[in-house]
């Protein structure tokens, strides 16, 4: 009986009077691809913030591979193998691509306290960086300032930052948002090929992409989970149709 990769029990997050996340319980098995869908304002990103630790839950329990992480700080969760991308590009615009990747690599290492060695000389860093950059299709860009990259390239870098440390649990928040169809295809292709050693949760607006990738789908509406099932089940469910196309 192995532990689920992620287990949420009655998780809620309230801001002032608003319940952004309301009593959500779900379980994601190791290696699973779970897609979270729901209309705007359904609480998807807030849920991700609760899982990654960017926000403290108001109530409920979060367990990651059996360990209770409910009260752990965001940095500590990353140390335990949680990786995440953000809906709004949050790479370091003033730094170079290599420096961005270096920070991601150093984030979970004691080497971040090194006061002496120039970053570019760190053992194995450039190799690792180039390997990742080749993977996402950004070869030879290590010295470019992120400021000079196109939006699509920044989204690719965003993915690299989340992947470079080999996370156990990967949270992708609309990774393809704002990309052209070709870029979307390419990025989505990379995501699909990721190994099953990484458990994946993805927020996605595009139903086709979502349903193409997902093992299971969770539907959120107004902070609550209204349905969970296989891609096929969700696609034909009338309640989901109403939530998306009917009155909100």
């Amino acid at each position: 009986m192995s532990n689920p990769a992620l287990a949420l029990t009655s998780v809620s997050k309230t801001f002032g009077g608003v319940k952004a996340v309301s009593n959500v319980s779900l379980q994601v098995e190791p290696g699973e691809r779970r897609v979270i869908i729901g209309p705007n304002g359904a609480g998807k990103t807030s849920l991700f913030h609760c899982i990654s630790g960017a926000l403290h839950t108001t109530s409920g329990v979060i367990k990651c591979f059996g360990e209770d992480i409910t009260h752990l700080a965001e940095a500590d969760r990353t140390q335990r193998g949680v990786g995440r991308t953000f809906q709004i590009s949050s790479v370091f615009a003033d730094l170079t691509v290599l420096e961005n990747i270096a920070l991601a690599v150093l984030g979970i290492q004691k080497k971040k306290w090194n006061l002496w060695t120039p970053v570019k000389n760190l053992n194995g860093l450039r190799d690792k960086a180039n390997e990742q950059l080749d993977l996402v299709g950004l070869p030879n860009k290590e010295n470019a300032l992120v400021k000079s990259l196109s939006y699509g390239e920044r989204r690719q870098l965003e993915l690299v930052l989340a992947l470079v440390n080999g996370p156990r649990l990967l949270l992708l928040d609309e990774p393809c948002a704002g990309l052209s169809p070709a870029e979307r295809q390419r990025l989505f292709g990379i995501i699909q090929k990721l190994p099953r050693s990484i458990t994946m949760l993805m927020i996605e607006h595009d139903m086709d992409i979502a349903l193409g990738l997902a093992d299971r789908v969770t539907v959120l509406h107004r902070g609550e989970m209204i349905l969970e099932g296989s891609a096929q089940e969700v696609r034909i469910n009338p309640q989901v149709r109403e939530v998306y196309f009917g009155q909100v």
């Binding site: 965001e74 790479v91 971040k112 970053v119």
Partner: protein, 313 residues
């Protein structure tokens, strides 16, 4: 990269032969530039890298100066021990004041302003300890055992040696993972949390390190001046420390020293023939903001970059 090390080498050579060519007036002035440049560099460790604008670095400078002076003049401690205690005192204050890294932005500016004022107030009011307005005078020349510093040139070389070591270590620090983490915090603190960093810890260490540098400068200062008074910890001095870095070029190695040269040069040289040197300095600050936000070094870098891209096209 090669060009900068050539420039550094040339500057070092000039610095080494300067006392043989220039009068005592200039040697003393350049010594002051080194000392205040180090103070400005200490403040710029926080500003240029982590984006934190501190108005209290002259407090560490002053505490180190006062501690050294009091121990040597009033209690007869030997230079080596007095100086060490001075550096220790300033750094200890830095460990306490380092709590200020819990705040950001304008609040950090205001907290450090208040903290700087406390030290000035203590220097000014706690007369029994600090001598009040008159401060501590008659600080003897520095020396170890039989080897005493006897003139301006010898002191100049001592200060130059310290500056070279400090600048070398600073360069290493800034290029290291720790330095990169500071720049990451400045560029996107929320993302740093999600990458596994605890920004407050890095900022605290940076703060304490910068207070150590400022203390070192403060000890050298009291041996140069042979006295210290509350003006050393004044708001004016605190403001100047960081403004020197900005005017010279924040985030660069030479910027704080260039800024110190400009400010001290203005004060010492301009004031001999024109009495409104503070107004001139004010105009320089205004000019920097409007026309040269990267400071002197920043402007030079832009000119070089433009020449480079012109050369390519």
């Amino acid at each position: 990269m090669k060009k900068t090390s050539h420039i550094a080498f040339v500057l070092l050579v000039i610095a080494l032969i300067l006392p043989q060519l220039a009068s005592t007036y200039w040697v003393t002035l350049i010594t002051q530039v080194f000392i205040f440049g180090m103070l400005a560099l200490s403040a710029d460790l926080l500003l240029g890298n982590a984006g934190l604008f501190s108005l209290c670095h002259a407090a560490f400078f002053a505490v180190a100066a006062y501690a050294t002076a009091i121990l040597q003049v009033r209690y007869g401690w030997v230079c080596v021990w007095a100086a060490s205690a001075g550096i220790f005192s300033g750094t200890l204050l830095g460990c306490i004041y380092g709590l200020s890294v819990r705040t950001r932005g304008v609040y950090f500016i205001l907290v450090t302003l208040a903290m700087g004022y406390i030290i000035w107030g203590v220097g000014y009011r706690w007369t029994a300890l600090t001598g009040g307005d008159s401060g501590i005078t008659n600080v003897p020349a520095p020396g170890i055992g039989a080897f005493q510093i006897e003139n301006a040139n010898q002191f100049y070389y001592l200060v130059l040696a310290v500056v070279v070591i400090v600048v070398f270590a600073y360069q290493k620090l800034v290029q290291s993972p720790f330095g990169l983490a500071l720049r990451g915090i400045k560029s996107g603190e929320p993302r740093m949390h999600s990458l596994g960093f605890r920004p407050a810890r890095h900022l605290y260490l940076a703060f304490v390190t910068s207070s150590f540098m400022a203390s070192l400068a403060g000890v050298l200062y009291v041996y140069l001046n042979r006295f210290v008074n509350p003006v050393t910890a004044s708001l004016h001095n605190n403001v100047e420390a960081i403004l020197m870095a900005i005017v010279g070029g924040s985030g660069t190695l030479l910027g704080p020293f260039v800024g110190a040269a400009m400010v001290l040069g203005l004060r010492n040289w301009v004031s001999t023939f024109f009495e409104m040197h503070l107004a001139i300095m004010g105009l320089v600050f205004i000019a920097v903001v409007i026309w040269a936000p990267g400071g002197v070094i920043g402007q030079l870098q832009r000119i070089v970059e433009r020449k480079n891209s012109e050369g390519q096209s």
